[in-house]
């Protein structure tokens, strides 16, 4: 049985696609057959972050409409044989994602994959609600910033009421908080909400904290999921997050400002 995970947030620009790309690559690297689906119809971007934009022939909506079969649309990742990308359509017709159509694609994927990662668009329109409807687990990506935290809370409300699990009175979706763009320096200065602040407000299980990192822009520039940049803090934090998702008890890293010597503390640097 495949497990379906939605990466969601409500607010745009907080790192959903970066997370979907890193998380799916991490699961694939651990040996699980993983598919990652872009639900952002009209604004396809996961292909760019995954570095497969020039290999897109058919897309999600083509499969739903029966214009292509799933195997024609799935793009196998060049770095991992376990990872496949299903790109979003660039059509402007938002109605293209039908519930039956999405269900059909997910059911077919579930036959051969261990994990299906759904990269949700921002907002609460159809793409976002379809991405979460069939989910078993949700990764709520949040920045330590007021509008992002508020939107995440709104998404938790929607997850709890408008999903298949909620409608069928099944066990609720497991929800995890992923705090991204975290800056321990600014937290220490009292300029940024801390991990604990956000956790207290949202009361969610913390699956990871991704520090603000130059590596994320470098990774998206070159179309390589940041988790493959093993030297970077962001890459390591995503690897930890994948481990925690798989049930490993790993301490959170990169939450503190690295300690400086007395000389640098007094004279800056």
């Amino acid at each position: 049985m495949a497990r379906i995970i939605v990466v969601t947030s409500g607010k745009g620009g907080v790192g959903k696609t970066t997370t979907a790309a890193a998380f799916s690559m991490g699961l694939a690297k651990r040996g699980y057959r993983t598919a990652v689906i872009d639900f952002d119809v009209g604004l396809r971007n996961l292909d760019l972050i995954m570095g497969c934009e020039r290999r897109v022939v058919y897309d999600f909506v083509n499969v739903i409409n029966g214009e292509a079969n799933l195997n024609q649309a799935l793009i196998r990742d060049k770095r991992s044989d376990n990872l496949y990308v299903l790109p979003a359509s660039q059509t402007r017709d938002k109605e293209a994602l039908t519930r039956d159509g999405v269900q059909g694609v997910l059911e077919e994927l579930a036959k051969t994959f261990d994990y299906i990662v759904c990269d949700s668009p921002a907002g609460i329109e159809r793409g976002a609600t379809m991405a979460m409807y069939f989910a078993d687990d949700a990764v709520v990506v949040t920045n330590p910033e007021v509008s992002s935290v508020r939107d995440s809370d709104r998404m938790l409300g929607i997850l709890a009421s408008k999903s298949r699990r909620a409608e069928n009175n099944e066990e609720p979706i497991r929800e995890y908080l992923l705090l991204s763009r975290y800056s321990p320096e600014r937290v220490e200065k009292g300029e940024m909400l801390s991990v604990k602040d956000v956790q207290d407000i949202l009361s969610l299980d913390l699956i990871g904290v991704i520090p603000e990192s130059m590596a994320v822009l470098n990774a998206s520039n070159s179309g390589v999921p940041v988790i493959l940049d093993e030297a970077s803090e962001a890459g390591q934090a995503y690897m930890d997050m994948v481990g925690r998702y798989l049930g490993e008890a790993l301490p959170h890293r990169f939450l503190e400002v690295p300690k400086k010597g007395l000389f640098r503390r007094l004279f800056g640097g």
Binding site: L193, I201, F267
Partner: protein, 90 residues
């Protein structure tokens, strides 16, 4: 961070504390609203209409909420009359 910044940082309270307070209030409010049954806004409108027939009231002074308990739910109506300072509740 230099020596001067050290003193400066300890003097002022950071904006994160303000953010935390604002969010706590906002999220609590949003959550309370989310768990309310959908008929409440309409009930509130109709109550305002009925009461307005008899007394002059400020519509902001009528609140309706449902509190869910373990054994019973409490529907709470709070109506504050604008003139004379008298208030009737529940």
């Amino acid at each position: 961070m230099g020596l001067l910044d050290y003193f400066r940082a300890s003097r002022k309270k950071g904006s994160a504390a303000v953010a935390r307070e604002r969010l706590q209030i906002l999220v609590a409010h949003d959550r309370a609203e989310r768990h309310q049954p959908s008929y409440l806004p309409k009930l509130q409108e109709e109550l305002i209409a009925v009461i307005s027939k008899y007394v002059k009231i400020d519509r902001r002074m009528v609140s309706v909420s449902l509190e869910r308990g373990e054994h019973q739910d409490i529907l709470e109506l709070n109506i504050v009359l604008s003139e004379g300072g008298t208030s009737a509740s529940r």
